[in-house]
Amino acid sequence: MDIPYTVTARPDTGLWNAKVGIWLFLASEVMLFGGLFSSYIFLRLGADYPWPMHELQVGFGFVNTLVLIASSVFVVYAWVALKMRNWRRFQFWMFLVIVSAGLFLVNKSFEYYNKLTHYHAELQDGTIIAGHLPKENSKEAKSIVFEASHVSVDSASGSHYFLKYLENKDDVRFVTEGGIEVDPSRKWFENLKRGLKLSAKADRLAAEGDIAAADRLSAAVEKDYKILGEVNGAGQVRLTLSKPGKFVVPRHKTLSWEETKMDFTRGLATSLEGMLVSASLKLAVDELDMREYLRRDEPREKVISESTLFGHFDENAEGQQLLKDFTDYHTPLVAEYEAAVAEWRLENPGEEFEEDTFMEWERIKLDKLHKILEEGHAASGDGYEQTAAAGAGAGHHGHPYVTVPFEDVRFFSNYGPRKNPYNAIYFTMTGLHGLHVLGGMFVLGYFLVFGRKLFLQNPEHMANRVEVGGLFWHFVDLVWIFLFPIFYLM
């Protein structure tokens, strides 16, 4: 049974099935990306933060644009080759398409990696710092480290997930209040939960009057869940650790921390007793952004160097030098800014001053600052490198370290989707686009590798397939043509 019009066109519509199919599919893809583009518009128009123009590295996007455009040309070449029944030439061009697609994805993954390993922290007073985690102990540099002697678990929820954050799991044993040593394993906690649940059910049955069933259940529980005897019934079960357990916990998994106590989030329902080792963020700073700080500091009497950030620069010479560089550079800038505002007020008497008017101005100035910082590092590069070698304080590319307690950090994230809606929509759109590239690569690759048989049987059918695959590929290219300017350029 053959479906008609798979190869030849239906006379009255002039189309073969797959052609209709792919255009319908593309129509739905247009709506998919249309939805994303309109979300982009919505988020951009509503952004209450300066839109990060030129934040991405244009070079990456530019190269990728060229690669995709070239691959689009290769696809039509490949299709023409098939139309002229030349299999070898088809192979040649299609191979280039696959290579281009691969190049695109490799390029993209470098870009992603750079973003995801670059961190950003906004302090309580609005100062924003960006930088990299130290290479060694990078996990501890962004987490709360706690050495626990006791663990209290909510037995009813049987939560064992805190074990995930216990670093020295293999060395540590847990001891119950009854003095029995237990394995810090998932199974133990789950048994505990199940046993408690069953005994609660037995109690309920007894209360309802079904004594026989309740007794039967209690007996079964006593037999199968000996664990219950080791803990003190429902509620918090307190376990002692045979030696200090080192917990490295991401900040968002904690509810609160003190010198001797730390609580996990509600869902984990676990708390630790012991000693807080560190609860601060350590970054090798390569960028400072004082825009938000300036915005909040309405009277503009405080100077930039009073930002909490500068309390946290390392006490070594490099840290102090950076502080001095920054203040020296910024003091005249602030004065200039103040003068500009005053002038604006004179020109527009009675109108309400909007910070946004000067947003662009500040951004440009601070970009210059960023460059100066970089140059400063380059100039005094030797010094930084030396300290790095000495292991005293300088880190990534010779940028100075800053250590900020988590209390002072309002928001902390890498340059991933979490950072702000711009990054979020960037990752979502380019991620989906990347999946389309990957999908197209598989389909076209399939034609390249397994298409020979169909080509020999029915070359026109094969050409149709490549045309359909090509249409998809051009669409992917077309989407990128829009993605490139809206994310990289403007």
Binding site: G14, F42, I69, V73, Y77
Partner: protein, 102 residues
């Protein structure tokens, strides 16, 4: 679609030219974003204008929309109408709120 070898050769030439044009316009897109046209809308508008022109080239030549069947156009017209409607709606949603939510 004409499938004679001569026709296809002519197509090939067109594809090469269009491909080159796309590359050139990519360079132009990057270049113009470093020029300030005075207003954000102007900057964005010019950038998007070039991108739309490039996308049009791809759709018109590479995707053969210069000689396609009526049915395909009918499908696409509706699609583009709805996409444009969606853009407009989302812009309006930001431009005309009862209360600003930020």
């Amino acid at each position: 679609m004409a499938d004679t070898p001569e026709e296809l050769q002519k197509h090939l030439k067109a594809y090469t030219i269009v491909g080159a044009a796309l590359l050139v316009f990519t360079v132009i897109t990057v270049a113009v974003t470093y020029v300030d046209f005075g207003h954000t809308f102007a900057n964005v508008g010019i950038g998007l204008g070039i991108a739309t022109f490039k996308a049009g080239l791809v759709a018109y030549i590479f995707m053969h929309l210069n000689h396609e069947r009526a049915m395909i156009y009918r499908i696409l017209v509706f699609t583009f109408f709805f996409v444009a409607g969606m853009f407009l709606l989302f812009m309006l949603a930001q431009a005309d709120p009862i209360t600003r939510f930020r």
